[in-house]
């Protein structure tokens, strides 16, 4: 079955695409929704506009849809993007990186249902710690591009997910209920390299922007 990947460029969407591919499914396109609203319920990811770099090294076409990011309108924009991907790339289903958000997952399910597409959520209900370890086992290089929960601060921006990160997250999970995989929106990520890429993206630092008391966003520079 040909699949379109709902793609933010973070670990969850890239890893779900990887899982689908390793299980024999054909990845036909990536679908990114660029939201102008930083508080977007569905699509606020700091590095969303960098997905074109990832699409290039994945050798996949990227379907982009801009949205103002108003609560229900952004779902209409997602629906338009999914329907246009279905028409253009003849996909039979959508893959998402949803882990536990019923809000996000059920909205994508409804859109796929209306569009007559299968909806795949291969990371659904996955254990956070085990998932992070799986990313490392599968040679995913992931950095943080946003933090949005105390006690995470600007020092966490651009940090790589490695064994030390996993150990520290485990402590923060026990003490502050931070979800180890950031499923509660505690942090956002960007995949620099993984087995789906023909070559690694070159991360050349970036700017850290304070967005609130416990909110920092990293604007990455890539080569």
């Amino acid at each position: 079955m040909r699949l379109g990947v709902l793609f933010s460029g973070g670990k969850d969407s890239v890893y779900s695409a990887y899982v689908a591919k390793t299980m024999g499914y054909e990845l036909s396109c990536l679908i990114s929704v660029y939201s102008k609203n930083k508080e977007s319920f569905m699509f606020h990811t700091p590095s969303i506009r960098k997905t074109k770099f990832q699409a290039k090294v994945m050798g996949l076409p990227l379907v982009i849809r801009e949205t103002e990011g108003r609560k229900e309108d952004e779902l209409k924009d997602l629906e338009t993007a999914i329907k246009s991907a279905k028409e253009k790339y003849k996909i039979g289903g959508i893959v998402t990186g949803a882990i536990g958000s019923v809000y996000q997952a059920s909205r994508v399910q409804k859109i796929c249902d209306e569009a007559g597409l299968e909806c795949f959520n291969p990371l659904w209900q996955k254990d956070g710690n085990a998932y992070l370890a799986e990313l490392l086992d599968n040679k995913f290089e992931v950095i943080l591009t946003g933090v949005f929960a105390y006690p995470l601060d600007n020092k966490w921006i651009f940090r790589k997910i490695d064994k030390k990160f996993i150990a520290e997250m485990d402590v923060l999970n026990k003490k502050y209920k931070i979800h180890p995989a950031g499923e509660g929106g505690e942090f956002e990520t960007f995949v620099i390299n993984c087995p789906l890429y023909s070559r690694s993206l070159k991360f050349c630092g970036g700017k850290i922007i304070k967005e609130g008391e416990n909110a920092f966003r990293g604007e990455i520079k890539l080569k």
């Binding site: 299980m23 059920s106 909205r107 399910q109 959520n121 291969p122 254990d127």
Partner: protein, 189 residues
């Protein structure tokens, strides 16, 4: 040992509809084995202490084309819990009626967080209103005479139990919300 029978046509859907069930069962220290319904052999059923039937995706009705694979249910004396599509199969095998017979029924579709009213206690869920996670396109029109309805949403029947056997069905997904349903099923003596 708990046998989890996958009703998914697509292998990739096992990660969404079977793995989370396996996770809840394993968290109790119980061993489980997973088989797709097409491959289940008599020996798999004999080896199992209990059987769980998974759900599957909104568009997957392939199991309706293979109902012969579930004929063992009628004579099964072991506890069985059917989730979503699994409950539909139980209803069908025991003389009940599914709305639509394998085709989407628009006014029965429930997707997302949903409120269900339990008329009596059910596998760890107490009488009253509870939040569940729903993902289905079909509904149950009626259950067979040996079954009792335990819960309903505003769109129809949501939880059932055989009157004399340990055979249960839920139309919602307890592997997402309401893990206690699976946990209490696993703990049945």
């Amino acid at each position: 040992m708990i046998l989890i029978i996958s009703l998914c046509k697509e292998k990739l859907h096992d990660l969404e509809f079977v793995k989370p069930i396996e996770k809840v069962v394993s968290s109790l220290g119980e061993k489980c084995s997973v088989k797709n319904y097409i491959e289940v052999a008599k020996t798999d059923l004999e080896k199992a202490d209990k059987v769980l039937l998974s759900g599957t995706s909104l568009m997957d009705f392939d199991y309706f084309n293979h109902m012969d694979k579930f004929s063992w249910l009628k004579d099964c004396e072991k506890p069985v819990l059917g989730i979503c599509a699994g409950m539909e199969i139980i209803v069908h095998e025991f003389g009940g009626k599914i709305e639509g017979d394998g085709k989407k029924v628009k006014d029965k579709v429930e997707i997302g967080a949903n409120s269900v009213n339990f008329e009596k206690d059910f596998l760890g869920i107490s009488k009253g209103k509870h939040k569940v996670y729903s993902l289905h396109q079909l509904g149950v029109r009626k259950v067979g005479k040996n079954f009792e309805v335990y819960a309903k949403s505003n769109k129809g029947i949501q939880a059932i139990k055989h009157r004399s056997k340990g055979i249960y069905g839920v139309l919602f997904h307890p592997e997402v919300y309401n893990h206690e349903v699976i946990e209490n099923f696993v703990k049945i003596n």
